[in-house]
């Protein structure tokens, strides 16, 4: 399963303040752990929203709004894409991230990515059992 793990912005990240050097070090180590565990597919940090823009759609009209945007908590500062077996595994990894060492609050959101299995047929329990039996039979036949 794939998950997007989203680091929410903060007042500091929106101000473009340089990140705490210890946090940077700890994040580096954490990312290394993730890579060594084979779970990271991608990761990137985002510039503050002052360098971004929004496009609003209303019927046929398109309105462009330049950043910065308010409500830092609703903004994204960075993300990972992870490949893990379950939401619980993603949560366990997030718990190991260094954000807990920060003073103040921070939030990380975990969202599952749509994949092919969500659209395509998957084997049911019966089908699996049927295939197990069929294979065992085939092996039995081949040995004759």
């Amino acid at each position: 399963m794939r998950f997007m793990v989203i680091i929410k912005a903060s007042k500091e990240s929106e101000e473009g303040a340089p990140p705490d050097p210890q946090l940077l070090l700890d994040m580096g180590k954490f990312n290394e752990e993730l890579i060594k565990a084979g779970v990271v597919l991608a990761m990137d940090g985002l510039h503050p929203s002052s360098k971004g823009a929004r496009v609003k759609f209303s019927g046929k009209s398109r309105t462009v709004v330049d950043g910065p945007f308010t409500e830092a908590k609703e903004l994204i500062a960075g993300f990972w894409l992870w490949q893990v077996k379950s939401l619980d595994e993603a949560i366990e990894w997030v718990k190991r991230s260094p954000f807990s060492s920060l003073a103040g609050e921070s939030e990380i959101e975990i969202r599952q990515v749509f994949e092919m299995e969500d659209f395509a047929p998957v084997l049911s329990e019966e089908q699996i059992q049927h295939k197990v039996d069929a294979r065992a039979e085939l092996v039995g036949q081949e040995k004759k």
Binding site: I35, K36, A37, I91, A120, L123, V132, R135
Partner: protein, 433 residues
């Protein structure tokens, strides 16, 4: 997430912790006990203890340390109680007691040691003395953190069969006194090849099943990819490891395009390339780059088979449409691959590339040379390729015969229908219109 029974939620959390930590715990215990079977049993007992204790105490801050410490205490108890091998075990028990008292906070040395232990575990689980299928089951169990049931379902094999394979494998490793070490010198090439073989076998079990009669089992591909990526970080200077990872990333990138919504296989040339996962392609190309850099740095002149196969896959991945494929390059890559690992199947694949790069006549000469190959005698793709070449050369009656021969050889019903359709589309006699 539904508001579930908290006991269930904790159980899932413990499963997740196990998946993250079990390989390291087992690796560390193997180093201490020198017996991978015993190490796994101890780790499993620690897991049982966790399932009992953590619902009350909560999940500890350092779950891996808790599991390891619990397992070590069990080992000490076990060795004390085992009066028969008392002396040897007494020594071990004392060593463990000493180790238990040392501080676990030696972070960086610990990191290196964990990495080393993990690598040793990889090599022992994939030891060539074990049959390949046993290596695969043992690897998924010890390094993938899968349960016996999960492995059985993934391989569509009865659970007792898998359980037996694992038990026998552990016994063989113990009986033959296979050492817990990273191979060195002349040995490492063959031993590494054995590891890569296992990982690719697991990948193919999930990948080949995604087109054809079996429906998708992408979770096996994911397990293999994860193992490959882990190995790449444990052996970062091995180009073939990056080659294998690249090959798997690129092949996995096509998963969505390889099967229709009703589960029918789609050939490479017919796939909707907008459905290819560009992230995985990017990762594959990056892994190839990594392998190249190592080869350049260490002035290795030749590329290994996995890297070559990855490069071939990359040629397809880079082409936005089939017509943009760099066929001459693929021909060169197959030629190099054939010199390394000669095989009639590789020759056949090369012939297909030649037909795309240089036309059907040049290719037909190569294919005809394979006609008497005994290993291809029942391989439906040989007459299938030959038929296609004959068709392109306007030799329709011969093409028809070959299409029908191919149809008779394939066990896949959909493929048979495809071949029979092509046979029917051949004009019976060009002079008889």
């Amino acid at each position: 997430m539904s508001a579930t029974d908290p006991h269930q939620a904790l159980h899932r959390t413990i499963e997740a912790v196990w998946r993250i930590e079990s390989a390291r715990v087992i690796a560390g215990l193997t180093r201490l006990t020198r017996d991978v079977g015993l190490a796994e049993d101890l780790a499993q007992e620690a897991l049982v203890a966790a399932l009992e204790k953590w619902p009350q105490s909560g999940v500890p801050d350092n779950p891996a340390a808790w599991l390891t410490a619990t397992a070590k205490r069990r080992a000490i108890d076990l060795f004390r109680r085992n009066a028969v091998a008392a002396r040897k075990h007494e020594q071990l028990a004392r060593e463990l007691e000493v180790l238990e008292q040392t501080s676990p906070d030696l972070d960086s040395t610990l990191d290196n040691r964990i990495g080393d232990d993990l690598l040793r575990l990889v090599f022992i689980a994939c030891h060539p003395i074990l049959p390949t299928e046993s290596r695969a089951a043992l690897t998924l169990r010890l390094l993938g953190g899968l349960t016996t049931d999960e492995i059985a379902r993934a391989f569509l094999t009865p659970e007792p069969t898998i359980a037996q394979r694992i038990v026998r494998a552990k016994r063989t490793l113990a009986d033959k006194h296979i050492p817990f070490e990273v191979p060195r010198g002349a040995e490492i090439g063959a031993r590494l090849a054995s590891v890569l073989e296992v990982i690719y076998l697991i990948f193919n079990e999930g990948y080949s099943a995604t087109a054809g009669d079996d429906l998708m089992r992408p979770s096996l591909c994911e397990d293999a990819l994860r193992l490959g990526r882990i190995l790449a970080e444990l052996t970062p200077t091995e180009p073939e490891v990056h080659g294998l990872v690249a090959l798997m990333e690129i092949q996995a990138s096509r998963t969505r395009a390889r099967v229709t919504p009703t589960g029918e296989p789609v050939l490479l040339f017919d796939q909707n390339r907008t459905q290819w996962d560009q992230l995985l392609i990017h990762r594959g190309l990056t892994a190839i780059e990594r392998a190249h850099k190592i080869n350049t740095t260490f002035i290795k002149i030749s590329r290994g088979p996995y890297l070559l196969q990855a490069e071939i896959a990359a040629c397809h991945a880079r082409a936005r449409t089939p017509s943009e494929t760099d066929w001459p390059r693929i021909v060169l890559l197959y030629t190099e691959l054939a010199q390394l690992t000669p095989s009639p199947v590789i020759e056949l694949n090369r012939a297909v590339a030649v037909s795309m790069a240089h036309g059907p006549q040049a290719s037909l000469t190569l294919v005809d040379a394979l006609a008497s190959e005994p290993s291809l005698a029942r391989y439906h793709l040989l007459p299938s390729v030959r038929a296609d070449l004959l068709y392109k050369l306007g030799r329709h009656p011969e093409a028809r015969t070959e299409f029908e021969r191919a149809a008779a050889l394939t066990r896949n019903t959909r493929e048979r229908n495809l071949l029979l359709t092509r046979a029917a589309s051949c004009e019976t006699d060009p002079t008889n219109r």
